[in-house]
Symmetry: C2
Subunit: 712 residues, 2 copies
Amino acid sequence: MDREGTVFQDLSHLVLPRSIVVVGASDKPDSIGARTIENLTTYSTWKGELTLVNPGRQTAAGMPCLPSVLDLKTVPDVAIVSVRAEHVVQSLNECGERGIPFAIVFTSGFGEMGEAGHAVEAQMREIVARTGLRIYGPNCPGLNNINAGLGMSFSPAYRIDRMPGPIGVATQGGGVGRSFMQSAMARGVGTGLWFSGGNEADLQVSDYIHYMADADDIRVIYTVLEGVRDGPRFMAAALQAARRGKPIVALKVGKSDYGAKAAASHTAAIAGSAEINSAVFRELGVVEVDDIGEAVDVATLLARGQPTGREKIAVYCFSGGSGALTSDRIGIEGLEMSELAPATLDKLKKVLPPYAPLGNPVDVTGEVLADANIAHATIEATVKDPNTQVVLVPIPVEYGKTTQLLAECMVKAQVGEKTPIVPIWMSDREGEGHRLMVEGGLAPIRSVRNAVLAVKRHVGYGRWLAGRDAAWQPLGQPQAAPGERTAMSEAAAKKLLQAAGVNAPVGTVVHSAAEAADAFAQMASNRVAMKVVSAQITHKTDVGGVQLGIESASQAEAAFEAIRQNVSAHHHPSVIEGVLVEPMLDKPFVEAVVGIHRDSVFGHVCTFGLGGVSIELFKDVSRRLLPLTPASARAMVMETRCHDLLVGHRGQTAFDVDALVQTLVRLSDFVVQHAEQIEELEINPLAVRPQGQGVAALDAVLTHSSKENFKW
Amino acid sequence: MDREGTVFQDLSHLVLPRSIVVVGASDKPDSIGARTIENLTTYSTWKGELTLVNPGRQTAAGMPCLPSVLDLKTVPDVAIVSVRAEHVVQSLNECGERGIPFAIVFTSGFGEMGEAGHAVEAQMREIVARTGLRIYGPNCPGLNNINAGLGMSFSPAYRIDRMPGPIGVATQGGGVGRSFMQSAMARGVGTGLWFSGGNEADLQVSDYIHYMADADDIRVIYTVLEGVRDGPRFMAAALQAARRGKPIVALKVGKSDYGAKAAASHTAAIAGSAEINSAVFRELGVVEVDDIGEAVDVATLLARGQPTGREKIAVYCFSGGSGALTSDRIGIEGLEMSELAPATLDKLKKVLPPYAPLGNPVDVTGEVLADANIAHATIEATVKDPNTQVVLVPIPVEYGKTTQLLAECMVKAQVGEKTPIVPIWMSDREGEGHRLMVEGGLAPIRSVRNAVLAVKRHVGYGRWLAGRDAAWQPLGQPQAAPGERTAMSEAAAKKLLQAAGVNAPVGTVVHSAAEAADAFAQMASNRVAMKVVSAQITHKTDVGGVQLGIESASQAEAAFEAIRQNVSAHHHPSVIEGVLVEPMLDKPFVEAVVGIHRDSVFGHVCTFGLGGVSIELFKDVSRRLLPLTPASARAMVMETRCHDLLVGHRGQTAFDVDALVQTLVRLSDFVVQHAEQIEELEINPLAVRPQGQGVAALDAVLTHSSKENFKW
């Protein structure tokens, strides 16, 4: 069991079995069974025990075939199942009965086909529950443990795409995994382990990520997610990777309506809300990318060494235009160029002609580059510069001998140096120079924009890792209690908040115009707000249930009547439990909005932003999983673009950010204590008053599970 | 002379000269002179007359050398100058005297070296002015007219990089041009004409763009701009390209501080404000890109046909994951997927297996693709679909025979069809399929993100072209009168605005506390604002010169004193011309900000946005060159994200957008009439009142050239 309470099975013997049985073995040319055996024998260096099962054959590929796994003398670690769809359940049943721990099911024709297929997958899960067999697939191309020389796959591409390396891949579909693998290989970086788990009837991407987090041969994890099915499991796996300092590079499909629709048409996974997904990824240090190409850029760079988050960049170029383009992107992406140390500048000055501008970018001009000594001396000086942690080398053109020479100097200069030299091979024409860089481990990236973006992600991961709170665990309660939801009245919700230590002023609840006038007279304030009290009405303004700026007892009487009439136009008058008379807060204050809701995948998420156009038009909000800590709550406040307003930019009023942060944490603690019951809590507005004056929840809505009354 | 009043010389004889003289001819192996002659003879099919000049030689490359261009019997169209830097001015002088119309100067060592070099370039311009010679360069690799088989270049790469084609390129530096050219060639699209004009002592990128706008062999123009030196010239060239329906794809260097610094270190061009540049590009239909790779994607797509702006997209795929990824990006970029016509669906249904989901994306699965007939029938049905104008085909992997077959079917299906089939070759491993697509003219793009972005730019250009106002011309007065600037007092500025038809209420100017009290008593409003009147003070609030919400005569007296004392703390009391007493406008109104300022490159630019956080934190503004038209002013208002607030989203108050638009046009007309004098005009706030109630300029600042008083 994992620290988070999520159980992860040890997958060592799935990934590197001591023995394998192929169920559905065949030697019919080009059949799935035959190709599988070929991959396991001819193209694998694996030395384990291989047995074959096929009731209709005596032998396959020159080896004996048994009628059933029940006839096996010993229990293999893995059964590879490639029988016809209608026989899969029986085969799995037999595997389970025989005590086989893992089955890899190639066969398709299940969940991806619709309802009937889903039902068969449910049967597979019953076998898992009953026998302890764990299922990988169905509808998958297999599992390639390339670092161990083992291809459990029917794909004819296995024989080509097997370069060992530090990257581990976990995908559902096959194409998006192999695409990554081919591109990384073309840049000289191998994918040592590839899980392509298809429909995920049982085991899922999170299980594979968790395995790779602990696997010694994997340094970077790449995953494509069509949807996260089990949020707490994914979060536990991601936290394990973080503990091991292994970045997860993730591509999420289904961020737009078109994407979600297309994903749904071929997998069973639910594509959750893109914003929540991205927020959770950010919080867990998962590096989200937009494209497979970007994933290759980022993963191959991260594979070269763990970033610190404090990297500064030098640009080394032999074409002024490409140097300027690269510097430009560095500035646009908010990264920092390094200031070269005086000793570095001295070294450059010694070998460069007098007219060459000294500094960063290091522009050695095309002429100079033709001299191997100068080229080597300058790139060596740059990579050894103590103020530089990444060297970007934009190469605009394939230029025959010149780019070849440059490549040789770069590869030589990289030896023994920790600072990565990252070539940007901008031309679609590849040449000998490109080949040398690939061979030399420099993993060239294709365009300036992509290269700088990859560095940004690299540095960002380093910064996250350096700042992460190792003790923090997400609450992880996505499952709501079944049944209807109940909303509380504002007054009731505010009383709960008060008990939780949140300043939520409640006025007087009145039931008649006369009581309203009395209440006004007894208020210390000479300006009050009046609001309908009703558990049935969450949007009080929409039904005319709010009257503001009341400044006399007679106005209070009139306001009471107005509220009564307005609300009665929308609801039966009996829903009106009363009218709240509250003193209005003196300006200045800033109106913030805090919402906590239960996400059905990841559990409770807190959303913070300032009210008005900031939220409505600019969607300027920050999000965090519960529980918040003082540090994460402060970060939430500071990362909205509106934080300038709170801290008082340009000499304006500074507001009580400390009280705001404390309130966010108290709200979080309150929801954590009642996580099973609370579905949604929104304070809108939360007035943030000037420094030292605290905050005040001016309205509150709380929705909870309605099986019984709210308990606390 | 061009319609805009900008003079463009006819460059036909520079681009395709009837005769060329090489000044500095040589046959020293690998010298610039020798390589130039080789490119002109061995590697060019050009049939014009070639003569050579070199005072130190009798012959070069087996041809006679004359001592000077003055000795030439006839006048060549172009002199290619490759003499040493110290002899360039003399050579150009002789070219001018001999009446040669164009000189291409390869020699470097001028403006890029600093001050002394700039001075020599000024001498070159004197020769231009005196003799009519036009200079291309210096410090340039030459001019390649590949469509005409003519390389006026010393570059050894010319012999390799010469694929004729519909793209024309105009750059300053060489690397960023050749990078584009190599990549476009690798995708099967040739660059037929490449201007690489180096330091641009005389002719500049705008001249080359203007030439290409009218050149029959060029359909798409690509340019890299380190800075726009002459804004009106650039705008005139861009408008000419628009008239011809030829897109300009532009990459601007120097958008960040790092980029601007790096650009400045190797060219003499001024990198203007990135925001203004981008706004001008958008308004002129120039397609701005971020990266050379993006430029290749966009230009090669635009070269396949002019977009209408109404393109809808079909995705054709054989891997569900890549189809979903592509659909996702289409949604994220705000593009539209096509709804396949019933007849198309019928065709697909006939050949696809029953389980294949019918619709867009067209997912034919990998198995199906192995059947050439089905593959061809499905891609043909997709490209012929009447509701589809672009077909994207994501190909996640190089897959040997499968991708080869796919390529064959795509190339065949494209024949005779206008709708472009755009392959997305996602793998870094290229194969036979890729080669066939390149050969077949399908110009594959490398990644899903890039491909969808290219389609977005393509469609965006079509939309711009369809909506452009052919009669509109920019004002184009970037040059301010020399000398100091003078600011007008608010009262004076408002009076000018009133005369221009803008509602700018001016109250009463008072000079004592007693007068203030009197003025208050005579106001119709019982709430007034008081503001210091002074031409010396533009930021009245910063010096305590504004008092709001005054509701009694005695408050007015006190406010007068407060303003006097506050302002006196910052300025000598004599700068106070008086205090303005103005009625305060009743709520509700929306505070807009309108600014017009003279940009030193492009001339007067109008900036519009809503006040408060929208401008300060979110930079939510729109910009247009003057003059505004009713349509462009309305577009300005509608394209800010805050426009929802003005039109009254979700049943809230709608404000007077018509009056706002009318006011923007009147302000534009006013500034156009006085463009020589007006440097800056800002109305902040411009109150936009509810529909039918108009707008009111509540404050105004006008800065003009101060040689004399403002005339109107």
